[in-house]
């Protein structure tokens, strides 16, 4: 009975304040969408890290005819130098760092190059002897790139040691900044949402002051008096959170899944299922937001 009563109170409260309730829904929708977008970016970063950190290599490029670095002064790498370098990479001193070593010849390099730039007219003008041969080193710990760099970069016959991870880090830092920006917008919108919820509850409490006054007199408990107001805010915020979840799911399905994944097939993107992980968090956040702000408002505006 009490439950039915509280539910009917909530219903009448929502109807009476419809325009305010809608604005609460929209503001929580926008703010939680930005929170979710930041979450999506973080998920995407983690996904890419997981995917790429297993694949990134340190490339030890060897000298070719027109290399300019000092260690290549003697011209292209000799058979002997190449064997020394390979020997060092495979020696016991480096086994704690090096997981595996692959040799890429100039012909293989040309093959990869042609794959990568298949649509570019540049391909036809490149020949195998312009591309450096290299050792592709998989590290046990990708962070230990410096060890390889120090040991090999000045060795005769080595042109340059390059860490592919550095490139990725740049991409990740851009993405991190974007997610920070999304969080900032989310923060501002969340403040809006909290204030708007507080105002809505105040209005609602004012328009129902007669009822709450009588409830107090006949001895209704604090919960029965306050719960309809709190739940009103929570319901509006949860609806906003559901809309935000829908928007994020749509974004991942149609923008990431439908477009980005087709354009960049070799990149690992997050899936719709991973987006669904965000949904409970968003709903919880929305409910918490509304619950706390309405509780604080009620303490000031509804005497019990």
């Amino acid at each position: 009975m009490r439950l039915a009563f509280i539910l009917s109170e909530i219903g009448s409260g929502l109807r009476r304040n419809l325009s305010m309730v809608i604005s609460v829904i929209l503001v929580t929708f926008i703010s939680l969408t930005f929170v979710g977008a930041a979450g999506l970016l973080q998920l995407q970063i983690n996904q890419m890290k997981g995917y790429w950190y297993d694949r990134v290599q340190v490339a030890v490029f060897l000298c070719v005819e027109n290399s300019t670095s000092p260690s290549c002064a003697a011209g292209p790498v000799t058979e002997e130098q190449r064997d020394t370098i390979r020997g060092m990479l495979e020696s016991e001193a480096f086994t704690p760092y090096v997981a595996s070593v692959e040799y890429e010849s100039q012909d293989e390099a040309l093959g990869h190059f042609k794959d990568q730039f298949a649509n570019s007219p540049i391909v036809d003008s490149v020949t195998a002897d312009q591309l450096p041969e290299s050792f592709r080193v998989n590290l046990v710990d990708p962070e230990k790139y410096e060890v390889i760099n120090e040991a090999f970069s000045s060795l005769p016959g080595v042109d340059v040691v390059s860490d592919q991870r550095e490139l990725l880090e740049k991409v990740f830092s851009v993405m991190n900044r974007a997610s920070l920006g999304a969080l900032l917008v989310a923060g501002v919108m969340t403040v809006c949402a909290i204030l708007l919820i507080a105002t809505t509850i105040r209005l609602s409490a004012f328009s129902r002051r007669r009822e709450t006054g009588i409830m107090r007199l006949v001895g209704a408990s604090k919960a029965v008096i306050q719960l309809p107001f709190i739940l009103e805010g929570v319901i509006a915020a949860v609806v906003g959170a559901l809309l935000a979840s829908g928007a994020l799911w749509g974004m991942s399905r149609f923008v990431i899944g439908g477009w980005l994944a087709r354009e960049y097939p070799e990149t690992a993107f997050i899936s719709d299922q991973q987006v669904l992980l965000l949904v409970p968090a968003l709903i919880l956040l929305g409910a918490l937001l509304a619950g706390v702000s309405s509780l604080l408002t009620l303490r000031r505006y509804v005497k019990v």
Binding site: M1, R2, F5, R210, E211, G213, I214, M215, R216, L217, V218, G219, A220, S221, K222, V224, I225, V304
Partner: protein, 234 residues
Amino acid sequence: MIRFENVTKVYDATSRPALDSVSLEVDRSEFVFLVGASGSGKSTFIRLVLKEDSASRGAVYVAGQNVANIPSWRVPRLRRGIGVVFQDFRLLPNKTVFANVAFAMQVIGKSRAVIRETVPEVLKTVGLEGKNNRMPHELSGGEQQRVAIARAIVNRPGILLADEPTGNLDPTTSMGIMKVLDRINSNGTTVVMATHDDDIVNTMRKRVVELRNGAVVRDDAQGIYIGETEAVAE
């Protein structure tokens, strides 16, 4: 049922106290008129019984319990034992007579079956049979006050507090209301009625407690209303 022990209530330190060291005892099933001019402390008395305010000094006992010792979460229980009626009725304008009375039962969690059974009974007690589905604005002032009384007693409180319940009503209608209150009192409910309607007090011949400037100046077992001339002379 209600006991005040040297109760003083100060709202604002600069002005005189609303109640000044009042000691008073109201027994179970008693009918007491609280008379006195406006500002004599009648409403403050009612607020203290309901624990809407707490006494600055002294102790207020309701049903044997010092209200100062009731924790805030138990206050609703105290109020369930007390019905209140006001001069301005305080009905919910968008609810029918039945719904207004039922509201008092709904909010404390009574079942629908109990409500359906009790509300018509109580409406009959206050003389509103057959008006279940009227809206408050379709009723006369006297009828509205009867609805308010029905709402106050529907949960069978031991005490009924009435703050000038006839203040907005003409003398004939007022007498009707008094009959209702008298009937409720004879069923065992303690009634405390604040009023400055001398006709009613003189007709009813009940106990009269007169307050002036926050102090009890008279307590007659079967009193009449004599404060008016003195108050005017003052």
